[in-house]
């Protein structure tokens, strides 16, 4: 087990190097820092001096890969690649365009992101699984057909609609909760309720339908017939036999996103004005703050890999056949 985990973590290193090289290529090779400067300053007003000044402020005035002017190790370290990309392995993300430390920003913004994403995830999971179980229990009846139809309808609606419609209905029409904003402490619930509700409703269509398919596949298996032949009731078969087996494929898709919950949701956070990592990212994209986008890409992939490892571990918990080796 330990050896296996160690190997997985070792395997994460080349993946992260790959991600790093990819972002480096995207951000510095496809377009040179000069190009970026020209665009940020505005094509019309651009002068060579302005470009140099822009680059100097952000530390983009160095060569890409090899600094022939420097000496010794500086040939490699005093470059854009080393200072902007390689440094991310030490979780040193540098500074955003407005001069703040990206690392500190990430730490402070994780809290609000998690406060929304974590409840959404867990309430959602329980809701989707319950709904899917209900449809499975009443499979091939009118209830099941109506449930599936509802799922297809819900998953055909744009995610933006849930947010805009929810804000309009709950906040503007019924005045139940504030339209947007965020506060810590006791007040937080009234700000969090709507984003969480919308997050859960938004995912119900596709998730429940997917889980239902998994349950139906399990229910066709031989061991279910054995369980019925024992005289177990349909409910007992579903909860004691099918659910536990179905958790294996469900976990594959679900556990992997748990670490990514730190990143928050782009849409929800920006619509509801929640100061999390999601809105941070979207602001950075709109402001074309490349250092922040780069940092978030790296953070995201690191968390994804953590999710993969977590998935493997969770298998050992639900499936006795899996021994990590």
């Amino acid at each position: 087990m330990l050896a296996y985990l160690l190997r997985r973590i070792l395997y994460a290193v080349p993946i992260l190097i790959g991600v790093n090289l990819l972002t480096f290529t995207l951000f510095f090779v496809v377009n040179t820092p000069d190009d970026m400067a020209r665009m940020q300053i505005g094509i019309k007003r651009v002068t060579p001096e302005a470009i140099e000044k822009w680059k100097l402020q952000r530390g983009y005035d160095k060569p890409l890969l090899v600094n022939s002017a420097a000496s010794g190790a500086g040939k490699l370290t005093d470059t854009i690649f080393w200072q902007k990309s390689a440094s991310m392995f030490a979780f040193d993300f540098g500074y955003s365009d407005d001069g703040r430390s990206i690392g500190r920003e990430i730490v402070t913004r994780m809290g609000p992101s998690l406060a929304i994403a974590l409840p959404t995830f867990f309430i959602g999971l329980v809701a989707y699984v319950s709904f899917a179980l209900l449809m499975t229990l009443f499979r091939a009846t009118a209830l099941d057909i109506a449930g599936v139809a509802l799922c297809v309808l819900l998953m055909s609606v744009s995610g933006l609609f849930y947010i805009i419609g929810g804000q309009f209905l709950v906040s503007k029409l019924w005045h139940l909760v504030p339209i947007s904003g965020y506060a810590g402490g006791a007040d937080s619930f009234k700000f969090m309720a709507l984003p969480i509700l919308i997050g859960v409703v938004g995912g119900i269509g596709s998730s429940s339908r997917w889980y239902r398919t998994i349950f139906l596949e399990e229910i066709g298996k031989d061991y279910v017939r054995t369980a019925r032949a024992k005289g177990l009731s349909e409910l007992a078969v579903l909860f004691r036999h099918v659910l536990k087996n179905a958790m294996i494929p469900i976990l594959t898709g679900v556990v992997v996103v748990i670490p990514l919950l730190f990143m928050g949701s782009l849409l929800t956070e920006s619509f509801f004005g929640i100061p999390g990592l999601g809105s941070y990212t979207i602001d950075a994209i709109n402001a074309q703050d490349f250092s922040v986008v780069r940092a978030m890409v790296f953070l995201g992939s690191a968390l994804y890999i953590a999710g993969l490892i977590l998935t493997d571990i969770s298998y050992t918990m639900v499936d006795p056949r899996v021994r990590l080796s």
């Binding site: 020209r38 055909s156 744009s158 933006l160």
Partner: protein, 455 residues
């Protein structure tokens, strides 16, 4: 010539897709075992009605893809001069909708603008009131006549549409029966759609059926124009994604060893980056490239179009990993099957085994993935445009429509029609696509065809 045909990059790709679609259909038609699952789709009433709706969208999209530049009246020393504006056949068909723009917002079927303005009447008195629209309901002298007129026009339009629909229905009845399609649902759907189109068309001639937007453009026109953008995102992306996923997935599964290692590494790297971020990063960089090379494009339409194509490209490059993984898994299973081993024992070359044995047997997975992805991509376009990494702001799309309308959410009274129209059209398109995709999956997925194996 009174016009000059223009083929934008996206047009060319659509034509390519269309051609390959027709070629595939022709190929399948002659092969009974390939046709069999399609027959199952054809017997499914929901699927066929969805297909009917989809084909209407497709028709609008295709008409909107035939681009041209009209000739201007004046000539330059005998040579025809063409307008710089790139129009499509669809634009020409609905010309009144495109040209009859108001000053700013107006609600659906409104006769006046949304906001009060100072207007001077015939006597020269200045009033602060809602001004009448230039086109919407301009034929009415009295405001009170509106409701009656709307109902009358709707009814006559619907009746006309119904008649046309009846003709179509009668004409296609035999064909439907011959091919075993569900007759009743199809006919009912045809009639309903025909009536709806008839009523809308008749109303749209006199009113802004879905209102107008900030600069006074007709929302119905915008919604219809958005269809093409959505369709292109949903289909051209697959054109990019498909070869990547197919070749890499099948190769990884069949050859295993280091080939598999490299391909797995590649897709783990790509899929480890949250897709929105990867797309955002790529689009930002594309934006820099486009902005720093303005001389590449002769007009704004070409620039917006190229940006759309690049967006599809980026979406394709970031989304092939899922299908690739599926295909790799399936190929791993297939390569252990005995017919592959039989071929290997004849010494059949790997390339031949891949093309003759493996690829035909993973086609159902590809098809299912394609139809399922389509609706996801249409929805994604709106989100990406909101995030600011979608299509060019000058390009009409559901995303840009929603984005523009969202900003007016806070106004009192609310400007609800543009949002509703965009979401409504998108819902119909995606719902039809989803229902159709479901039927295709049911017909093609071997695991779901259990009922036939009973006994």
């Amino acid at each position: 010539m009174s016009f000059m045909p223009i083929i934008l990059w996206s047009d060319a790709l659509v034509f390519l897709l269309l051609a390959s679609g027709i070629a595939t259909a022709w190929y399948v038609r002659r092969r009974e075992h390939l046709l069999l699952p399609w027959r199952r789709v054809a017997q499914n009433a929901t699927a066929m009605v969805s297909l009917l709706v989809l084909s209407l969208f497709l028709l609008v999209g295709l008409l909107d893809t035939l681009h041209y530049r009209a000739a201007l009246p004046e000539t330059n020393g005998g040579e025809t001069v063409y307008s710089p504006e790139v129009l499509s056949v669809f634009d020409k068909l609905v010309e009144p909708l495109r040209l009859q723009t108001e000053k700013t917002y107006s609600a659906p079927f409104a006769l006046t603008l949304y906001a009060k303005e100072s207007i001077s009447d015939a006597q020269g008195n200045v009033l602060h009131d809602y001004p009448r629209l230039r086109y919407g309901g301009a034929h009415l002298a009295d405001v009170a006549q509106r409701n009656g007129d709307v109902v009358k026009r709707a009814l006559t339009g619907a009746l006309g549409g119904l008649l046309a629909g009846l003709l179509i229905a009668l004409g296609s009845r035999r064909w439907l029966v011959q091919h075993g399609l569900p007759l009743r649902p199809m006919l009912i759907a045809t009639l309903l759609l025909a009536a709806l189109i008839g009523a809308t068309a008749h109303l749209a001639a006199a009113y802004h059926v879905l209102g107008t937007d900030k600069v006074g453009q007709d929302v119905l026109y915008l919604s219809l124009k958005s269809i093409r953008t959505g369709l292109i995102i949903g289909t051209v992306t697959t054109l990019v994604m498909l070869p990547l996923a197919l070749f890499l997935g099948v190769a990884a599964g069949y050859f295993r060893g280091w080939v598999d290692d490299v391909i797995q590494y590649l897709y783990t790297v790509l899929s480890s980056i949250p897709s929105v971020l990867l797309i955002a990063a790529a689009v930002l960089m594309m934006q820099v490239t486009i902005d720093t090379h303005p001389h590449w494009f002769d007009n704004s339409a070409a620039r917006a179009d190229l940006r759309l194509v690049f967006l599809c490209l980026i979406l394709g490059v970031t989304s092939w990993t899922g299908l690739c993984r599926l295909l790799r898994g399936e190929t791993l299973k297939l390569r252990e099957l005995e017919y592959i081993q039989a071929a290997q024992s004849f010494g059949v070359s790997s390339l031949r085994i891949l093309t003759r044995h493996i690829m035909p047997n993973v086609m159902h997975i590809i098809l299912i993935a394609l139809v399922m992805d389509f609706s996801a991509l249409v929805l994604a376009e709106a989100v990406l445009s909101y995030v600011g990494v979608g299509v060019d702001p000058s390009m009409i799309s559901f995303g840009t429509m929603i984005n523009a309308a969202r900003l007016e959410m806070g106004r009192e009274p609310m400007v609800w029609w543009a949002l509703t129209a965009a979401f409504g059209f998108m819902l119909v398109l995606v719902l039809a696509a989803n229902l159709f995709a479901d039927a295709v999956r049911d017909a093609f997925d071997p695991r779901l065809n259990r009922t036939e194996a009973v006994a």
